[in-house]
C-alpha cells in the first residue's frame, strides 16, 4: 500500500488513520511509543521544513532509522533519471517519504518501488498527509467535522493543500465557504468534482466575514501572482486576517494555516486563543506516524 493521493482514500481508511493517530497521541503523552523496525528514506527534491522534518521525526519516534537524500548533492546532477534514483533508493530502505515538483512523481515512484511510498507533495497536485492532519486537527479541536462551516481564505488556486482539503471536507460533511481574490479562486473542476462526489454545494463570497465561521483556514496570497504591484498590495491588505476580524467571529473560532505564513496573519493574532496553526503543524507527528505505521504493517 502507498499513500499518494487523498482521492485514493475512502472514509473508512481516513477514520482508520485517525484511530491510529489518536492511539499514538496517547502513547506520545505517556512517552511510551510502540516501536517498529526498518529504515525510512526521505527524498525531498524541493525545499520543505515541516513536511520533511515531521516525517523524519515521526519515523524516529517510531524507532525507524532515517536516511536522507539531498537532491543537489546526488547523481541527479550527473543526469540520473528520476525512476533510476527511486529504484536505487528502494534497495536501501523499507519506506519512502518524498516530495517532488512534478505532478504525479509520487505515483510513478510507487510504481517502480517495492517499498511503500508516502507523498509529501507533488507539484500543484496532492499533499495527502497535510489534508489528513488538517481534518484531524479540526476533529480534535471541534469534536466533529460534519456540519461545521469552514471558511477557506486566500489564494485558493495555487495552494496545493486546498485541492485535497475541499475533497476531505466534503467527505466528512462540512460546509465550505470560499473567499479568494479575483483570479485566484479554486478551479472550477476541483469544486465540481468534490460537489458531485459528496453531493454538497460550496459557497463563494467576495469579502471576509467570519460571523458564521467555525473554522478559518488561511493560505497566503503571493505577490508574484499579480502583474500589477499596486493591485497586489491592495489584495494583500484586503486578505490580511487582523485581530479585529477575529474578534467579530465566534469565540470558539479555530484559525488554521498550512504554514509558512508570512504577513497574511499578523503576529498579534498568534497569541489569540483562536490561533491553532502551530498545534495543527504539531498534529503532523501523530498523523505521519500513523501513516508510516499503517503502510509498514500493511
Amino acid at each position: 500500500m502507498d499513500l499518494i493521493s487523498f482521492r485514493d482514500l475512502d472514509k473508512g481508511t481516513v477514520e482508520k488513520i485517525f484511530g491510529i493517530a489518536e492511539d499514538i497521541d496517547r502513547q506520545l503523552e505517556r512517552k511510551k511509543v510502540e516501536k517498529l523496525e526498518g529504515i525510512m528514506a526521505t527524498l525531498f527534491f524541493e525545499p520543505s521544513t515541516r513536511t520533511k522534518l515531521s516525517f523524519q521525526s515521526s519515523a524516529e519516534r517510531l524507532g525507524l532509522q532515517v536516511v536522507d537524500f539531498l537532491a543537489d548533492r546526488s547523481s541527479l546532477k550527473k543526469g540520473e533519471s528520476f525512476t533510476d534514483t527511486i529504484r536505487t533508493v528502494d534497495g536501501y530502505c523499507d519506506v519512502i517519504a518524498m516530495r517532488h515538483p512534478a505532478e504525479g512523481a509520487a505515483r510513478l515512484a510507487a510504481e517502480v518501488a517495492e517499498a511503500p511510498v508516502l507523498n509529501g507533495g507533488d507539484g500543484a497536485n496532492q499533499h495527502p498527509t497535510q489534508t489528513l492532519l488538517d481534518l484531524y486537527t479540526i476533529r480534535k479541536l471541534k469534536g466533529k467535522i460534519a456540519g461545521l462551516n469552514v471558511h477557506l481564505v486566500g489564494d485558493l488556486k495555487h495552494a496545493r493543500t486546498m485541492h485535497s482539503l475541499v475533497y476531505g471536507l466534503g467527505m466528512f460533511g462540512a460546509k465550505v465557504t470560499m473567499v479568494a481574490p479575483k483570479g485566484l479562486e479554486l478551479e472550477e473542476h476541483i469544486i465540481h468534482e468534490a460537489e458531485k462526489k459528496f453531493n454538497f454545494k460550496m459557497e463563494s463570497r467576495d469579502a471576509i466575514d467570519l460571523k458564521d465561521a467555525d473554522v478559518l483556514y488561511v493560505c497566503r496570497v503571493q505577490e508574484e501572482r499579480f502583474a500589477d504591484k499596486y493591485e497586489a498590495a491592495k489584495v494583500k491588505k484586503e486578505f490580511t486576517i487582523s485581530a479585529d476580524y477575529i474578534r467579530k467571529g465566534k469565540k470558539d473560532l479555530v484559525i488554521m494555516h498550512p504554514l509558512p505564513k508570512i504577513d497574511e496573519i499578523p503576529p498579534e493574532v498568534d497569541a489569540m486563543p483562536q490561533a491553532k496553526y502551530f498545534e495543527q503543524a504539531r498534529n503532523g507527528i501523530p498523523i505521519r506516524m500513523a501513516c508510516i505505521k499503517m503502510l509498514l504493517e500493511g
Partner: protein, 143 residues
C-alpha cells in the same frame, strides 16, 4: 466526388471528423515507411457530419482497441474490416474506459511528460483523468 479504389483486404475508417484523417494514420502507426497502400480522402460531404474524412488502408485489419483509440479524435468514427472485397466486421469507435500507452499527458509539469513514461488515463464522463498528475483533459488533447 473523388473515386477511390475499393480494397480487397484491409480497413476502412469512415465518419472521421474532417481534418482528423492524418491523426487516424498516426494512431494506426502508419507512415511513409509502413509500405501499406493508403487512401486518405478529406472533406468529403456528409449528411450527418457536414464534412468528413475517410481513411482506407490495404493489408491491415485493425483491432477494437485501435478502433476505440480513434474515438479520442473522432467519436463518431466507424470501422469496416474487409476480406476478399467483402465487409466481414463493422465496429463503432467508443471512448475506452482506460488508456495505457495510448495518448500523452498535455500537462508539461506531469512526471509522465518529464520522464517519458507511457501515459495512463481513465475516463470520467467525457474527459480523461491522467493517472499521474490527476488532471482531466478532453480526449482530443491527449493526441
Amino acid at each position: 466526388m473523388l473515386k477511390v479504389d475499393i480494397i480487397e483486404h484491409g480497413t476502412v475508417v469512415d465518419h472521421v471528423q474532417a481534418g482528423m484523417g492524418k491523426k487516424v494514420l498516426d494512431i494506426l502507426g502508419i507512415d511513409e515507411k509502413s509500405g501499406n497502400r493508403v487512401a486518405l480522402v478529406m472533406n468529403v460531404p456528409s449528411q450527418k457530419m457536414g464534412k468528413k474524412d475517410i481513411v482506407k488502408v490495404e493489408g491491415i485489419l485493425i483491432s477494437k482497441e485501435k478502433t476505440d483509440a480513434i474515438a479520442l479524435i473522432s467519436p463518431r468514427a466507424t470501422v469496416d474490416l474487409i476480406k476478399d472485397g467483402k465487409v466481414v466486421e463493422k465496429m463503432q469507435a467508443e471512448l475506452p474506459e482506460s488508456l495505457h500507452g495510448v495518448g500523452k499527458c498535455p500537462n508539461p509539469n506531469c512526471i509522465s511528460t518529464q520522464e517519458k513514461a507511457p501515459g495512463k488515463f481513465h475516463l470520467e464522463g467525457q474527459k480523461y483523468r491522467c493517472g499521474y498528475c490527476e488532471r482531466t483533459f478532453k480526449p482530443v488533447e491527449l493526441l
